[in-house]
Structures are given as C-alpha cells and as structure tokens.
Symmetry: D3
Subunit: 250 residues, 6 copies
Amino acid sequence: MAKLAEIVEFLDQELRTNEVPDYPGAHNGLQLENGGEVDKVAVAVDASLTVIEDAISVGADLLVVHHGMFWRGVRMMTGGNYRRLKAAFDSGLAIYSSHIPLDVHPQWGNNAVVAKEIGLEVDTKFLPWKGIELGISGQWTKTWEELIATVEAKVGPIISSVRCGEQVGRLGVITGGAGSEVEAVKASGIDTFLTGEGPHWSFPLAEELGLSVIHAGHYATETFGVREIGQKLAEKFGLKYDFLDHPTGL
Amino acid sequence: MAKLAEIVEFLDQELRTNEVPDYPGAHNGLQLENGGEVDKVAVAVDASLTVIEDAISVGADLLVVHHGMFWRGVRMMTGGNYRRLKAAFDSGLAIYSSHIPLDVHPQWGNNAVVAKEIGLEVDTKFLPWKGIELGISGQWTKTWEELIATVEAKVGPIISSVRCGEQVGRLGVITGGAGSEVEAVKASGIDTFLTGEGPHWSFPLAEELGLSVIHAGHYATETFGVREIGQKLAEKFGLKYDFLDHPTGL
Amino acid sequence: MAKLAEIVEFLDQELRTNEVPDYPGAHNGLQLENGGEVDKVAVAVDASLTVIEDAISVGADLLVVHHGMFWRGVRMMTGGNYRRLKAAFDSGLAIYSSHIPLDVHPQWGNNAVVAKEIGLEVDTKFLPWKGIELGISGQWTKTWEELIATVEAKVGPIISSVRCGEQVGRLGVITGGAGSEVEAVKASGIDTFLTGEGPHWSFPLAEELGLSVIHAGHYATETFGVREIGQKLAEKFGLKYDFLDHPTGL
Amino acid sequence: MAKLAEIVEFLDQELRTNEVPDYPGAHNGLQLENGGEVDKVAVAVDASLTVIEDAISVGADLLVVHHGMFWRGVRMMTGGNYRRLKAAFDSGLAIYSSHIPLDVHPQWGNNAVVAKEIGLEVDTKFLPWKGIELGISGQWTKTWEELIATVEAKVGPIISSVRCGEQVGRLGVITGGAGSEVEAVKASGIDTFLTGEGPHWSFPLAEELGLSVIHAGHYATETFGVREIGQKLAEKFGLKYDFLDHPTGL
Amino acid sequence: MAKLAEIVEFLDQELRTNEVPDYPGAHNGLQLENGGEVDKVAVAVDASLTVIEDAISVGADLLVVHHGMFWRGVRMMTGGNYRRLKAAFDSGLAIYSSHIPLDVHPQWGNNAVVAKEIGLEVDTKFLPWKGIELGISGQWTKTWEELIATVEAKVGPIISSVRCGEQVGRLGVITGGAGSEVEAVKASGIDTFLTGEGPHWSFPLAEELGLSVIHAGHYATETFGVREIGQKLAEKFGLKYDFLDHPTGL
Amino acid sequence: MAKLAEIVEFLDQELRTNEVPDYPGAHNGLQLENGGEVDKVAVAVDASLTVIEDAISVGADLLVVHHGMFWRGVRMMTGGNYRRLKAAFDSGLAIYSSHIPLDVHPQWGNNAVVAKEIGLEVDTKFLPWKGIELGISGQWTKTWEELIATVEAKVGPIISSVRCGEQVGRLGVITGGAGSEVEAVKASGIDTFLTGEGPHWSFPLAEELGLSVIHAGHYATETFGVREIGQKLAEKFGLKYDFLDHPTGL
C-alpha cells in the first residue's frame, strides 16, 4: 500500500513532468485523483474505455498511460467518455499520463528501451524541438536484414518499410508517430530511421531523400516505457503491477 | 420521473443549443450524463463545487446552469475539480449548461426576463455578434431615479453606476459581463445601459461617450433564465425544481 | 497525338480544378509544361522520382498524378528533387496533378470508384469542408465478413481494422488519409468507415465512439481515380496510356 | 518653474519607461507635449475629460496619469475625445502616462505603497510576465478580520470578497484589475489575494482552488503610485502638485 | 459659410464612408473636429505638417485629404506630430480623410478621373478585394507611344515602365501604390497596367508574366479625387476651395 | 574549371548562408544544380528570364543572383516560369542566390561596398532584426550637395529625395527597399538615410520626423555585392565572370 501523492511526486520528479515540453493536448501528470491509496498499478499505452475496464478488473488503483484522456480538448462527459470516467470514479482508479517526458527519459524512455532491446549503442541525440531532442541514434554495425529480423523479434511485426541503399550506417530511433519527420531526420545525418508510424507521402519523400525507413507500429514501439514505469513503481513502493496489452495494429 | 434524454432533447430544441453561437469555453448542452432518470431538477447560475453539493443535498438528479464546468479548457481532475466531479458522478447528478442560448432566448432569456421585470417594453435588438444580437432595448418613459429604484427592487443592489445627462431615453439591456461594450452600445443609439458588470476603464470611457451605465451585478442579472428553465421543466415533465442561490456579490 | 493545352483544358473543366477547394500544398492543374504535344499518357498516384523515370521509360509525354510535386512548398532544385525535374525537363514530360478534385469527382473520383468496386449504392454525401463534402455513404446490406472480403478482393489487403458492433449499417467511404476524422464521421450517422490510413490514436477513439473502421491503404484506395483519367484521355484524344504501380504498403 | 523635457527625462529614467513591458494600449511616457515649461503638476488615475478639465482649473501644466489616453487604439478626434484634446492643447497641458512601470516600481509603485500602507512586509515577487513579475507577497501575521479592517481603513471600501479557510498566511498584492489571475496566484503559493477588481467567474473558481480574494477597487488601489510621483516631482523640481480624485466605484 | 456637420454628412453619404472597406490604418471620415463652421476648404493628398500649415495660411477651416493622420496607429503627440496637431487645433482646422472610398468612387474617384483624363472608355472593374473591386479597365485603341504621351501630358512624368509586347489592348488603371499586384492584374485579362508606384521586384515578374506596366507616380495619380471633392463642396455649399500641391516625386 | 560543390561550400561559408536570417521567400544558397562543373560565372541582381537567357548566351555554368527564383512561393512551371527553368536545365546553368547574407557581409555586402564607393567611413551598425543589424552608418563630413553628387557619380541617378535640415551629420545606408523604415532609422540617431526605394507615404513621414532621405534605386544599390562575388570566385577558382546588367529604373 502506498500513498498516491507520493507516487505522483516520485513520477513527476523522475520524468521531469513540469519541465519537458509536449503537445498542448498531452496534459502530463496526474489526470484523475482517487481516494489517496494505491495497492496495485496497471500500465498501458492508451487510456481507452477497454483499458480502464481491464485495469479495474485486475484490481488496479492507479493506471499509468502514455496517451492520456485529454488529447482532443474538452469533451462532453457523455456516451463512451461518460462510461470511461464513470468506471474510473466508481472504482477509485487514479490515472497518471506521461507522453514526451516518457519518450525521452534516458533510461525508462520508449526510445531508450527500444534501442537497448535491438542492441543499438546510442551516442547522439537528434531532432531538436522546444529545447529538447526527440530522437536518439547510433551506428548499426550489422546488415539491413539483421536489423529487420531484430526489430521483428524484439519490437513487433514491420508494418511497412522503404529501403534506400545497401548498407545501414547511422540508425535513428523515434518511437510513436514520427514518420513525417523524414526531411529533418535525413538532415541530421541519419541513413536509416526506425519509428512507429507515418503517412503514405513520407515514403516517396524518403526515397527522394535517400533515407531508409522502418515502421514498426506506433503502439508496439510505445509499450516499453510504461512497462519500465510499472517495474520501477513495483520496486520503489512494493506494489504489484500489470501491463495491459491492447494493440491496434497501427 | 422523466427520461434525461427527453429533457435534453427538449432543452436543445427550445434553446437552439446547436445553432446559437457562443464563446469557445461555453460547451452548451449536456455536459455530464447520469443513469438516465430525472426526478428532481436544480437550477443555478454556476456549476461550482458548493452548488453541486447543494444540488445533491436537495436530491436533484439534474442541475441546469448558466455557466458550465469547462470554461477554462481541459483541467486535471484533481483537487477541487476532482471533488466536484466525484460528487456528481457518485450521486448520479447530470449537468446541463446553457450560456448565450439562454441569454438571448426571446421568452426565457436573462435579457428578456430582466426587461419584463423592470417594466421595459422591448422593441429592438442591438450589438450584432456572429449572426445574432446580444442585447435588447426599448424606450424608458420614467425618470432615472425610478429606473434605479426599480432595478434595486427587482434585480438587486446597484454595484456602481455612471450618469450622463438628465433624462433616460433608450434603455439597452445585456445581462452578465457586457460592461466593456460601451462604445458599441452607444453607437447603437442607446443612452442608458443596464448590464451586470464591467471594468473600471469603461466608466471614464462612458463619460466621454455620454452613455449612462448601471451595473446591477453579473450574478444577479443572470439568475432569471435558469429559474425560467426550472419552471418550464416542472410544467412540461411534472418535476419538482429548486433554485440554488449562491451570489458572489459581483 | 494531341495538344497538351487541349488536354489541360479538358481536365480543368471536367475536374473543376479552379473551383474545388484543396489543401494549400496541392496546386492542382498543370504543374509542368512540355513542348506542347502529347502522344502517350502515364497515370500514377505519386510524382516521385521512380514514377517519373518509369513514365519516361514507357515513352509518356504527360504524367497525371494524384499527389503532385509541390506539397512541401518551395524546395531547392538539388539532389533527388533536381534529378526528378531534370529527367522530366529533358524528356519533355508534362505533369498534371489533381488531388481533392479527383477524390470527389462524381464518376471518376477515388471515392466513387471504390464504392462502385465494392458494390455500395451511394445515396448521401458527408463531412462538409470548405463548401464541398469529402465523403460518400450508402447502406451496406451484407455482413461485416463480406465487406472485409470484398475490400480485400477489389481494393487491397486490409492494413488494420477496429470493429464495434455486429452489424454493418451505413457505410462511409473516404479514400486516402482520412482516418483522423472518426469523430465527424460518427456524427454523420455512419457506423462503419472505410478509408486508407489513419493514426494510432484514432482506433481507441473509434472504439469509444462505437465506430467500426477499416484501413485499406492510402495508396491502394487512391489508384482508381488516375486510372479513370487515363481511360478517359485515351477515349477522348485517342491516346495510349499506362498505369504505373508503385505501392508503398501504406 | 521646470523644463518639461527634464521632468520627462527624470520620469523615464526612474520608471524605466522604455524597458518595462506593458499591454499594447498603454503607450507609457509623454503622450502630449506643451510649450515646454511646467509650473504646476496634477496627478490622477485616469486621463478622462473631467480630470483634464480639473487639471486645467487648478492651473496645472503637466498631468501625470496611470491610465493614458490611447488604450483603445486610434480614435477619431471628435465628440468627447475632441473636447478632451482641445482643452489640453488650448491650455498647454502636457500629459505623461505610466502604467505597469508605475505598478511595479519598488518604492513608488501601486503594489509597493499599498503593501506599506496595510503593514505587509514584502519578501517575494510572483506572477512572471514578459520578464518581470506583476505581484508582491509577504506573510500576514494577523487575522482575516484585521486584514479586512486595515484595507477598509487605508485603501477603501471592500467591493466584494470570497473567503476560503480560517487563517491568512501568505498574502499577495496586485493592484488594479488582476482578479482573473486566481489560478496563477494560487499556484504561486499564495492563500489570500488582495487586488482591485475581477470578473464574477473568478469567485467560484477561487472557491474551488481554495484561494481567499479581496477586491478593494481598481480605482482605489491605483491612487497611490501617482501621488508618490506628485510628491517626488514637487521635491525634485520645486513644483506644486495636486491629486485629482475621480473615483468610479469600481 | 456651412456647417461642418452637414459637409461631413454629405461626404459620408456620397463616398459611402461606412460601407466601403479599407486598410486598418485608413480611418475614413472626420478625423478632427473644429468649432463647427466652415468657410473655406483645402484639399490635398497627404495630411502632413507642411500641408496643414499651408491649409491654415490659405485660411481653410476644413482640410480634405486622401491619406489621413492615423496610418501608423497610435502615435505620441510629440515632436512633428504635436506641431501638426497643435497647428490644426489652434486654427480650428477640421480634417476629413477618404482613402479607398475615394479611389473607387464611380465619378469622383482617382481611378475614374484618371481614366477620363487619358481618354479611356471604362467597361469593366477588376481585382476583387473584400467585396469591392479596386481597378477599372477598358480597351485602349491607340498605340503605346500615344498612351505614354497622354499620361505624361495629363497625369505627370512616367517614373519607370516596362513594356511587353507591341500593342496595347486592355488597359487597367489603379491609382496609388498597386504595383505589386501584377500577378492578379495579368490574371484579369489586362495586358497594360497603369498605376502609381510599385516595388523593384514587380518589374522582372511583370516581364515574366508578359504584362506592360507604367508607374506614373503614387502622388500624381492621386491628386484627382480630392480636387473633385473640392469642386463638389464648392458647388454644393457655396464655399471657396484650394488644392494644395505637395508632390514627393514618388 | 571548378566543381560546383566546392564553389557552393565556399559561398555558404563566406556568406554564412545557414546562419544569417532572411525573409521566408529568400531561400538562400544553391537553388538549382547542374552537372557539377563550372567554367564561367555570371552575376546579376535578379534571376529573371532575360537574365538567364543572357547568362546562357555568355556561356555561364553558374549564375549568382541577389534575388532568387522562389520569392513568391510555389509557382506552376508553366509560361514564363517554364521557359526560365527549361533554359537553365537545358544549358546546365546552376543558380545560387544570396539576399540578406549578401546585403550585410562586412566586405562584399551591398551596404559595405556602397559606403566604400561614396567614401563613408562606417563606425556603427543599426536597425536590429532577428539578431542581426540591417544597416551601417558613419559621419558624413561634407555637404548635402557633395553627397548627392557622389551618389549620382558612384551609384546611379537619384530617384527622389526629401531634405530636412541644412547639414548632413550621421549618414545611414541600407541598400534595396528599406524606405519604409524611416521611423526606426530616425530613432537610431541618423539624420540622413541613403536607401534604394521606398513608398510615397514614407516621405511625408520623414519630413515630420526631420529625416533626410535619398532613394538611389533598389536595383542600382544592389549591383555591388554580386559583382564582388564574381570577382572573388574569379580569384579563388580561376574562373571567368560577367556582370549582367538589367536595370528596372526602380
């Protein structure tokens, strides 16, 4: 049993919630209070109705997510949104959200853990944005085929890819939906870019730029950070935790 | 006992909720669902924590307010905002909000009822905004002193006033916080303007323009519309209703 | 042999190039002139370097595309962009682009042809945008399984899908990348939405809204309109035409 | 007798007129020249027609105000605005305006003098804005009742107030119309906020936040700074000065 | 002797001062009142200090200008601006300004009178802007050389010109500084464009577009409208009037 | 014979192409590649069709201009724009553009060379803009008449001028179209301003401010920088170069 306030303070501090910039819709931090006590934590990528119902069914008091409840601004508390909030309020489920602070955390971050999982030794950050850098990169010393195989084994099935050039040299990683950044990625000296998803138009553009791109899934690349948080909260506060897996195939 | 869905449909239609323009923060309509049944209605100016607690203590299932819960955009569901929502979710209190649609309703509107209460025969609308007109006006056939006395008797204590000229001719009414519109009001041919509140700078400007202005309170001038709604819901659906009075002195 | 000017006049008129609204980057119409004569036409989805090289190798004088060369604003004529333009200038390849005018054309449009291919009888337009409507819909009278099978057979492999509810009723179609419009689509009375691509976050949101969504590929859903144009130019001007297929898997 | 140019140079330097940020409408500094000589100074809160007429009737050559003539941008020199300017031009009345530079001046400022008048020992600034801080705060060591009584005695009648909590701890002061800043004020660690005016909606919000607020009048809280200037000019240049009192009740 | 109010009412009505759109800095109408009587009118292009001093020296009570006093927004009433206003206030000189309403007036307008002076029969308007059209055009039936000679004789010396093509066909006229509109002018079907001034870059662009352009001076092309107003006021109200000529060479 | 890539690298470094700010339309650097070799350079002010045809007729492989091809954003490659690009692609003419980086270069810059040509000893920069300063100034120790004569002799015919005051003291220089900056120029302590062009309204304003202004032609004042580049490339890479003179009279 731990105090919600202590967990929130710990996460805010570790993730630098009030300092790391983010999109206006992110609203990082504690999005929903509960009665104040936490016995079990659930972690997940999205704060969807299904995930919240699952969190309740496994007995969680706190749900930590990567994508919080407020992305689309104020929404009437009716229909699906009402049911989602009603379930959380009724069961005393607190919700904590961490988006870019979690992506870029040097140890727990989605970027960092994906790089570690595929065996990439990171030496550089890239893609500056509002005072931070959104991506990390390193030299890939094996072949393209080995890269594909490792991603499939450690992250998930490749959604689509475009290959330019025989060798892989500098490999850049940004988890989630960074596929439209191909121009800035290429300008950073990267020749192969691993990300989650991107729009159709980014592939002809990547070809023109001579940048190889791999889409390994927005969802799949962002499951790592919340699992790290679950582990850390378990260790630090002696709590149980569950990862709730709800892939979208995207 | 009535269905929430039927009440919402009735109010949306009568108030033209989806057609009347409003400020981005207003979010008119059903802001919070409940289980679907309504036995008792509460009406109030603001959806504050105190009002919601009062609504619950009088046994209301539906609270109709002029100023809803979402004016300041997305807010974390923590602290006072958490307690407010927790109380409403727990007790099954639905919340319906109507701002400008209620101000300008030709019979139930705050403007219309204030004019009727003080005995002003309305013949003109003024102050065009996004396709509607925010104010109503008529000829005042009595003296300034009688106007002041009537407002005090029927609406509430005068907060402050500035008087330009001996006579009152055309009297314009906009309830709530329209005091900064003195330039446009004067340009509409009005010589005396009754509103709820306004900033300090509007009084020297009114003097320069030669416009008399009376501030009768933002809160006080906006209690009329929600009471009309309470009355209409009582008649139409056979429900009980309470007006919950929480003045701010502003 | 036909005059380029006559073909351009014909296309501008049929597609209402100067009247249909579009995104600022689209620049519909003749993007690149040539010497004035056209003997063979190539049609494709994208104006990428590879496509332009293919168009030249099949001997085309005119390339008609859905996504033109100028989406990302002014670009230096260097690197891949130089090679693309150099190839086109050297071989006398004119380029004509038609984006939303082609999506929404009532007979040739990507929307209209996809609907015809899957056997959907269209009776309504939806999703208003700048004075036009971007989507078309009709009643689907068969099962979800038959819908999936038909799309796979006639359009291409399903990228991903989310299913809400057992039955399919009103089926809406917008080709290309309209997946982020789920909220507006649902509000149009549609229960099943066929589009090309969409972001990860649209799937949890669709679930909350109760909208089934099928992503059949941005590229795959937009191959139909340009093929119709090729056919029409062949008939009207007695020209040969080739469809150049360069899928991205997205 | 003093030179206008010397007085202006002194005020610009002391008040840091060209460095302190302000709202676009403020236009701090010398707003209207005269023939160049100053024998008597008048100080007032507003540059209204009545104030200007008073300044002339007391024989002033220079009027120093907190709210200048240009807040609402360009205005035709007709009607009341013509009469105001005509009077000033005819009598050779120069006008100098100082808004935020005067609010935040560490000795002469409205904030500083109000704090001194009510016996608050200031130790902190708060509410950052464009590189400065708009408010000052300190610990209030007496009761709420003593605070109310002191404000009434030293500043003016309380317009309205909302009380949250029994004790007063950290008291923040921003003169004028800062009432809508309750959220940022609370987030600065302040529990009791003394300001001039604020909108109706700020009171329910303050209640939710748990912030006590006192409105002592926009006009009343801003009479202090200009009186300090009058005193300083009298001392420095051997001039007579009058404070012209024209309260609005707001 | 006439009443200022009657003159203003006449001009506002004839020029449609409150209906014709303009740039934000224009502020058409009576910019400065006087004591109410007008015996003599001066007209000029600009409301500069020199012009105002001239108007006073010829004994004018009203100055009508094309470019008023407020183009650059609020300006401190110091230095040259103080002297300008001081002179006008002291001598009782009212100032009335009319910019685009005067350019486009069908009989008095700068466009219309320039066209009449050079013998162009106008049959069409062009260049739509905020609901009006800024230019007028007609067929020029003589040579380029005759056009140049007529402009020099009737309007003033050519500042610069660029000639594309041997013949003049459709001649468009916009007085003042419309030279940067060459792209829109050419797209209106005009081959020769007479205007007052334009930037350097507009000449290479005009060459590329195949549009001949003549700059006859911003000042010179805009002296016609105010002279028409002078004439009309003289006729209508039995007043004397002077045209005050202050060319800039631009 | 030199490599295009080496020339571009040299120019980018010397001119600080990627660091100096500019207007969005400028697109400084290599705008159009060629096959990679450069034997002869042409330099000119504008990249117009006529200039490009001239560059080709003198056998140039690289054209360096002050005003590049992309000022007006994306333009269809049709008509005059097609002919311009077609000519350049066909003849292998690379195009390099440098706008503000060339204006402000301390030795090669248009400002610096104009100042040197007229014998002005520069000691100060003025007019801050995005972190750089756009103008340079020094004390003029001779008369106004000598200044006019020197400008006419060294730069070109005076287009127009306005003179305020007998003496010339501090002379500021900004080549090109900086005439509308008179207010900021005067506030920098400059009494005489030499620039290329400016709008009509800037002359009455300069008079009011007491600033003398000389317009020596946008084109004429900007021929100096590209000629310096031609010279430097000739020296550094052993290339021939031609200056292509195409004045607009503006």
